[in-house]
Symmetry: C2
Subunit: 237 residues, 2 copies
Amino acid sequence: MTKYEQIADIIRERIKKNEYPVHSQLPKQSLLAEEFSASRETIKKAIDLLTMEGLVYAQRGSGTVVLNRPFSQKEASPATEYYGLTALMEKEERSVDSDIILFDVTFPNQHIQEKLHITATQAVYHIIRLRRVDNQPYILEHIYMPVHLVPHLTEDILKQSIYDYLKNELDLKFAGAYRMIQADKSDSFDQTYLNCEVTDPILEVEQVVYLKNGQLLEYSRSRNRFDVRGYSVLDLQ
Amino acid sequence: MTKYEQIADIIRERIKKNEYPVHSQLPKQSLLAEEFSASRETIKKAIDLLTMEGLVYAQRGSGTVVLNRPFSQKEASPATEYYGLTALMEKEERSVDSDIILFDVTFPNQHIQEKLHITATQAVYHIIRLRRVDNQPYILEHIYMPVHLVPHLTEDILKQSIYDYLKNELDLKFAGAYRMIQADKSDSFDQTYLNCEVTDPILEVEQVVYLKNGQLLEYSRSRNRFDVRGYSVLDLQ
DNA sequence: TAGTGGTCTAGACCACTAC
DNA sequence: TAGTGGTCTAGACCACTAC
C-alpha cells in the first residue's frame, strides 16, 4: 500500500472516530505533512482520495472541511459492482445461485456487432441466466461475449461466477464498464423467470465491459426485479 | 487553465484525429515531458485526466494504450447533471418549462429530517414541479430544501431554473450529489401529471445535493417517464 | 534485464479566500 | 494582507511487465 493511501486511511479513521468532527477544518496540509513525515504533495494525494469518497472538501484559500456523509454509502457504490453479484452478496452473507436458461454460440446481429465492435463473422456466446439471491429470483441476465476472448466457457462456470473464471483462470484484466440504467415494463419472459406481476416494472442495466487492453468483453442487459435493487451514484464537483 | 489540463487537451485532440490510433501506445511519459517542456508528474496528471475519461489505460511496466471508446459518451455522463435539466437540454436546443403543482413551506417529517440532517423545527420548502421538454411531460419532481439556505424563493424562480438562481443569485457552491436510481410503479399522481398509462413504470432518481461547505441543500425524488430518459454511468478500474 | 509507469520529496510560485 | 490549497519542477527510487 502506498504512503498516501496509508495516510488517507488514518485520516478516514479520525473522521469516523470524530477526532475530526463534521464541519470542522482538517489541519492544514503543511501540518499534516509534518506529522506524517511526508511531503505536501503526498498529503494532497491522500486528501484527494478522501475528496473522491466525498468525505472532505478542500478549498483553496480556506482549508479543508469534513463533510457530512455517512460511511455506509461506500458499500452501495457501483465501483465494485462488475466484479459480479457473487462478490457483492458474499459480503452480506447471502447465497447466490444461477439457472442457465440459454447457453448458445451464434453470430452477432448488427446491434451486438456495434456494441462489441466486432464483425458479423466473429462468433459470440449468447447466455441467458437467472440469478437467485437467497433462493429468490433477482436478476435475469442477457449476456453476449466474443468467443475468441473467452474460450472454453462451460455451463458449470455459468452456474458459478463468470467473473471468478475470467479473473482467476483466464487472467483477464478489467478496465471498467459503461452502463445505462433505465426503467422498463416487464415482458412475459421477465414475468415467468423473475416471478413478477404483469404490472411490475423492471430496472434494466445495460452494460459494456472493457478490458485493460481496450478490448470489449461483454455486452449485457440485466433485468432486475424492481423491488429488490437500486443503483447508487456519487457525483462530485 | 492549468498546464496539465492543456496537455490533456492536446493529447485528447491527437486521439480524436487518430494521430494516436486506438490500441496504439502513447509516447512514454518522459518523451511527452520533453515535448511539452513539463515534468513527468505534470504529464502523469494529464494522463490521469484522460484515464478518468476512459480514453487511455496506463499500466506500469508496459506503457499507456489508447482505448476504444467513443467520445460521445462524455455528454451522456451524469457528471454535469445536477446543474439542472435546463442546462442539459439547452445543449440539444430543446425547450424546458415547468408547472408548479405545489409550493409550500412546512416542517420536515422524520424521513426528510434524516435526509437533510436538520431538526423538526427547521422549516423546509416542499415543491412539486412538473418539467416539460418540448411541451411533453418529462419529470415530476418532489423537492425539499431548508428555508434558511434558500431565502426568498418564489414561484417565478421555480418556473425557470432553480439552479441558475442558486448559483448566480445566491452564489451557492455545489460540491456534489448522491443519487439512488430505481424503478417503480407509477401511481395516480404520476399518471395524471406525466400523462402516462397505468401500466407504465417510472424511473425514480432520489438525490441529496451537497454544498462545498458541507451543508445539505436538497433532497428530492425525480420521477421520470420511463420512455424518455435513461441514466448513464462510467465505472473505471 | 531493460524499459515502463507509480510514488515520493523539498522547495518554489501562484490563486483564491476572508478579513 | 495573511493564510490556505493548487500546481509545478528535477531528480530519485521502486514495482511491474515482457522478453
